[in-house]
Symmetry: T
Subunit: 70 residues, 12 copies
Amino acid sequence: MDVTFKVIELVGTSTDSYQAAIDSAIERATKTLKGLEFFEVVEHRGHIRGGQLVHQVKLHVGFKIEDITG
Amino acid sequence: MDVTFKVIELVGTSTDSYQAAIDSAIERATKTLKGLEFFEVVEHRGHIRGGQLVHQVKLHVGFKIEDITG
Amino acid sequence: MDVTFKVIELVGTSTDSYQAAIDSAIERATKTLKGLEFFEVVEHRGHIRGGQLVHQVKLHVGFKIEDITG
Amino acid sequence: MDVTFKVIELVGTSTDSYQAAIDSAIERATKTLKGLEFFEVVEHRGHIRGGQLVHQVKLHVGFKIEDITG
Amino acid sequence: MDVTFKVIELVGTSTDSYQAAIDSAIERATKTLKGLEFFEVVEHRGHIRGGQLVHQVKLHVGFKIEDITG
Amino acid sequence: MDVTFKVIELVGTSTDSYQAAIDSAIERATKTLKGLEFFEVVEHRGHIRGGQLVHQVKLHVGFKIEDITG
Amino acid sequence: MDVTFKVIELVGTSTDSYQAAIDSAIERATKTLKGLEFFEVVEHRGHIRGGQLVHQVKLHVGFKIEDITG
Amino acid sequence: MDVTFKVIELVGTSTDSYQAAIDSAIERATKTLKGLEFFEVVEHRGHIRGGQLVHQVKLHVGFKIEDITG
Amino acid sequence: MDVTFKVIELVGTSTDSYQAAIDSAIERATKTLKGLEFFEVVEHRGHIRGGQLVHQVKLHVGFKIEDITG
Amino acid sequence: MDVTFKVIELVGTSTDSYQAAIDSAIERATKTLKGLEFFEVVEHRGHIRGGQLVHQVKLHVGFKIEDITG
Amino acid sequence: MDVTFKVIELVGTSTDSYQAAIDSAIERATKTLKGLEFFEVVEHRGHIRGGQLVHQVKLHVGFKIEDITG
Amino acid sequence: MDVTFKVIELVGTSTDSYQAAIDSAIERATKTLKGLEFFEVVEHRGHIRGGQLVHQVKLHVGFKIEDITG
């Protein structure tokens, strides 16, 4: 039977790097979501606080679903 | 009173066709979501396995809501 | 610890104006979602019924999360 | 039978506001076009004359048609 | 002499499929417009009514013109 | 009173150059349309016939209108 | 002689509305920049603080220049 | 070891349908290219000849490579 | 040491051609800016005055900087 | 039988003009590629060397193929 | 009183990495610009010199302003 | 004489990071392609396998050519 995925949008943050912001969001997602299959980065922006960067990386994360909830 | 819609992103799949992938995702959504009103196709991609296509169609699906949940 | 945000897509509507459609969606979101932090308008379209406009404004709304749900 | 819509592009203008530029274009369109059904804003730009803004809002406006003319 | 084309925007609809919505709009256009030469699909969206899809496919359709009318 | 513009899409062609394709379309438009005010180039493509280019330049052309026709 | 414009990017803010954020940025620009001629809105986003919106509207603002400075 | 993919752009054509144009291009690609893994549709346009559509579907097709050639 | 570039946006104008509008803006920029390195065209639009085109070409122009000024 | 096209990306360069950069790339392509049918300009950028422009025009060029090679 | 931001475009470079190119541009900006608040990455490209990458990362950087200068 | 570049699309992969996926694809390209000059990142997506990310970075890579091959 054909599977269906749901895609949600997350913003991971890190004061270290682009890479750490991605890893942070995915790590948190894997704790509570089953069936994670793919991701896509759609935006890299952030804040500057006292000369330090706070990276904000927007991700689309997809996972298999049986019952679709809103 | 003015209504509010929530829009979620789904990826329907099918080994048959673009059309079947859309129908499959909408059919599954209608089983559990009330108040479905509109959809939009935003991407058509897929995998090729042994010369056969697995269509993956990304859809935005909108439905009326009373209480917004995350 | 680095925070994570979830972003959902809403469509606010109003027969009055663009501004009222935005306010309406955000007002409803603040009733049930905690930790709302940012929004972005991504589309302004609508219907015309008997010469009157029904504004539909699509918004992305972000809020802090601890546990990510689908 | 399946209906067909034609979509035309208009630019409404106003020295007052974004909202007034939209209303002005739609009001004029409803005078001569039958079957108006939907609109979409695609651009908000304008001129600055002596410190005052002249808003120019580009709209796509759709209406049902029987016979398509160029 | 160099030719000029005019391009108009149509939305074909169908309760059957993406393909039928395209065919329906082009068939209607060929009845009244001479010199049709090319088309491009720019959007596939639609409504959901009682679980059934109403496909709305936005097309750009180009045809040769001698005298340009607004 | 606030003015309204209509914008139409034309494709000018030329075997000479990008510039000639634009000039050709505008020249033809000025013969039959009153109140031409602005243009925008949205695409430069073309055909290659026996090693020679046929430039096709898609233009949006705007003009003032009193009565909006479809 | 052909004129040259420089375009700068501003973000106007307002707790009132989209329109007020635009007006605020343009008003401030007209105090110090001569030869302002045109603007374009490129983004409408914002923050939510205690249920209240802080609108942030990104504008491109163009003005005539004689000598280009970085 | 980390794999590398090359992605090429093809345009499949068909007088039948969108779906047939895709299948036609992929079928031809599978004859001569090894390691095909994924595809993405990026454009659906076409010609109209005597009222009949010639569908042209632009696809990106990816396959594993060992040695990259230009 | 790694260099940094600043990029500014200019609009060159010409009643002659697209090419002349670009040349005009770059010529003016080279008079006052040191270290010009690259450019990119991002828009070609214009006005029509009495049947004559006034080309407006928007350019991004980059140059090396030591001290970044706003 | 339905034909298939392959599309490749080229960057033509010229110290003269936008037009010359396009002509240069197409002329070179026609020397070695058979069945060239269409092109599309997707980017116009360049370098500035001693006040002189080096135009770089990115083109997509399509040609009929029998056997698809990577 | 509502604040206004100015946004400028910088290109940071590094032979090390994407991350280092960003850090380099922001570090230089913080030396001379006060009130830096946010950034956004809009492009990651670069040169290849003798097999080595020179990363060029285009950033938009925003800062509070009192008096807007061109 | 004016040079011509060909641009090909590659997808580098890595289980480590965004940066490693880029380096991996460029390293492989430099083994077999002469005259590599520039690259651009156009997409960062990937798979999630057992909680681990497989980064897929799509790159455009350009190199000088004498004879254009398909």
